[in-house]
């Protein structure tokens, strides 16, 4: 069974499921304790041991079905075979399996179970059966190689997979509101986490002076309550620079929403949006209701939402008008896909901005594999940023926000 199971594990890995060596071993152990008599049980236990996410169940089941099933031969070939070996071929080409009471595994794997690899098997099996088994093995190999049909993925459970949902494409209006709710919930979570950190930061080093004083004050010499030193947490200033052209509009609004919910955690938040020239929308976002008021942005003066993104020009304007606003506490967050439509990149402006600010964080709403393809020039800007992160799911957004709060 071992080589067969390893083959199955490899098949899972080929299909992109992560299975570690240890998990493979556990699978083997689990077979040891449940046996091979029940195919359904085998499926369930392998799934329990090897698959660690409900999302992958469908794929696993398909692969299991394919791997642990006796291949059915095509009619044409079967009749030919029947002709060759007489009646014995029978209707089902699985004499061995039938003999064993319909074993849950394919005959080849059964053979591997009984005989270690490399040992001659012809002694115990009749040559005809052997030949048939070989044919089966070939058919089975072919079955494995056949392209996978579309695997029906599990329907998304509300709340369960929201974190992994792509957010870089437009949502239907009814879902949109929900998404903003989710973003808000995320922000609130981050806030509580941060509040707790702050409270916990009192669990730092013992404040000896304070402890002794408190003890004296209470009249006993014994300091019954320990006082801890409080760690100081500095508040940052935030400068958010968002591309709002069609392709990244959705993620930008999510980010702006998130940032403005977190407003209290920063000493200042300023938001600028741009397509080909920048417009400050700090005030607008501060009292905006989502998603109803987003429409106002569409008609905002100087903001040509339907123009071509020009990062170079936007950065130059930023450099010209906002450089003096930057301090050592300012974190600059840029959100954009860096698809510059072949305009001048003006990357030197970013270097200047970086010199004046604490950090530059670039969020790219495209999956990493699409970076630097087409007119994307993220690679040109990246050296001037302290960090460049992907940002196309809520989870990414959360990570980014976490990074921001860490300062």
């Amino acid at each position: 069974m071992t080589p067969r199971l390893l083959g199955f594990v490899r098949l899972l890995r080929d299909q992109g499921l992560r299975v570690s060596v240890a998990e493979g071993l556990e699978a083997l152990q689990s077979i040891g304790s449940i046996g091979l008599d029940d195919r359904e049980l085998l499926r369930l236990s392998l799934r329990t041991v090897l698959i660690k996410s409900q999302r992958d169940f469908a794929l696993f089941d398909t692969l299991f079905q394919r791997f642990f099933t006796v291949p059915r031969r095509r009619k044409r070939r079967r009749s030919k075979h029947q002709h060759q070996s007489g009646n014995e071929a029978g209707k089902r080409p699985t004499p061995h399996a039938r003999h064993n009471g319909g074993l849950p595994i394919s005959p080849p794997s059964l053979r591997a179970l009984h005989q270690p690899k490399g040992q001659p098997s012809a002694d115990s099996l009749q040559p005809q059966v052997q030949e048939k088994l070989d044919a089966l093995e070939r058919a089975w190999q072919q079955q494995l190689k056949a392209p996978l049909g579309p695997v029906v993925m599990q329907p998304e459970k509300p709340g369960m997979q929201a974190l992994h949902k792509r957010i870089d494409r437009p949502f239907p209006p009814d879902q949109l509101e929900d998404m903003y709710h989710q973003v808000e919930r995320l922000a609130v979570q981050l806030l509580t986490r941060r509040a707790l950190r702050y409270r916990r930061s009192r669990h730092g080093r013992v404040d000896l002076r304070g402890t002794v004083l408190r003890g004296l004050r209470s009249g006993t010499e014994t300091p019954f309550t320990l006082l801890r030193k409080r760690r100081k947490q500095t508040k940052l200033r935030l400068m958010v620079l968002c591309d709002v052209s069609g392709s990244v509009w959705q993620v930008s609004t999510f980010l702006l929403k998130l940032v403005h919910t977190l407003q209290a955690e920063f000493s200042q938040v300023r938001s600028l949006v741009f397509v080909n020239s920048i417009v400050e929308v700090t005030d607008l976002f501060r009292r905006m209701r989502f998603p109803q008021d987003l429409k106002t942005l569409r008609h905002y003066p100087h903001l040509n939402l339907f123009g071509f993104s020009d990062f170079g020009r936007a950065f130059y304007q930023f450099y010209r008008d906002y450089l003096d606003e930057l301090t050592r506490e300012t974190v600059v967050v840029i959100l954009g896909d860096a698809r510059n439509n072949a305009f001048d990149a003006q990357f030197w402006t970013l270097e200047e901005v970086r010199q004046r600010s604490r950090r530059i964080l670039w969020l790219n709403p495209e999956p990493r594999r699409e970076w630097d393809t087409g007119d994307s020039i993220i690679g040109v800007y990246a050296p001037f940023c302290d960090e460049v992160l992907e940002c196309w799911t809520l989870e990414h957004l959360e990570q980014a926000a976490n990074r921001l709060l860490q300062g």
Partner: protein, 312 residues
Amino acid sequence: MAPARPLSVPSEAPKPASVESVIELFGGADYVCGKDVATAVYLMTQLQRPLLIEGPPGVGKTELAKVLADTTGRELIRLQCYEGLDEAKALYEWEYSKQLLYVQMLKERLGSLLANANSLNEAMAHLQNQESAFFSRHFLLPRPLLQAIVSPRPTVLLIDEIDRADQEFEAFLLEILSDFQVSIPEIGTLCANQRPHVLLTSNATRSLSEALKRRCFYLYIDQPTFDVELQIVHRKVPGIDHHLATHIVQFIQRVRKLQLRKTPSISETLDWALALVVLGANVLSRQLIVNTLNILLKDKDDIARVLQDVKR
């Protein structure tokens, strides 16, 4: 050749002998479970691995741990996770006040102990000899994780809603889950006499780390099917009329298909069924649904949505 030593000391607590016996055992404790649940439980007890259970809230993840503890005669130790949970709350803490209190009470004894010391150094040496008295297990406040490890009885350790804890805590758990020993600097290493059965539950509000998942077996409990849910209602609400139960479950199954913010789970079904029995209902009339829907659904929009559906 010496016989190979077994990898783990066989525990005294009984283990289910097969997947069927798990179903049977759990059935005896009024926990209706499918083959998938039974397989996972069977494997985790056999191979002594932690089991990570995911699923929507209210499908009986926590209940599973309770039933496992009951049926295998183990003690249930529960660690409820929350944001900001740290080692001191999960593993152990020194009882600082108790230590101080003892020092106060033993002051005179200490004075006499140190009286015949000639120098400060000597006095220190005397005191250091007594150090272990102050850092002994008497002053140790064991929290759930340590309780599970030092308990003389076999235990089931339930780590509830692990997704609520911070990621640092998750990393810390890994250490415990892999070898079930804790080193306390002042005392030494404490090992588990009995390897606890560990169950972790998660509502998947955030994705758990790969490292943690690798070390656990995985079970996903979904909302029950019609048959299973009907069985559960009959078990948990004794004396319910069969027709009423059927109608309730049918209705709930339909409600679950609607796009709701919070789909009613099995625990809400049971609450509702119980309420209807208390109200003395025999049939599920439209008026009754309208009047009692707030037991089933806790969201204003959801209620409106379902009412709309009922009217049709």
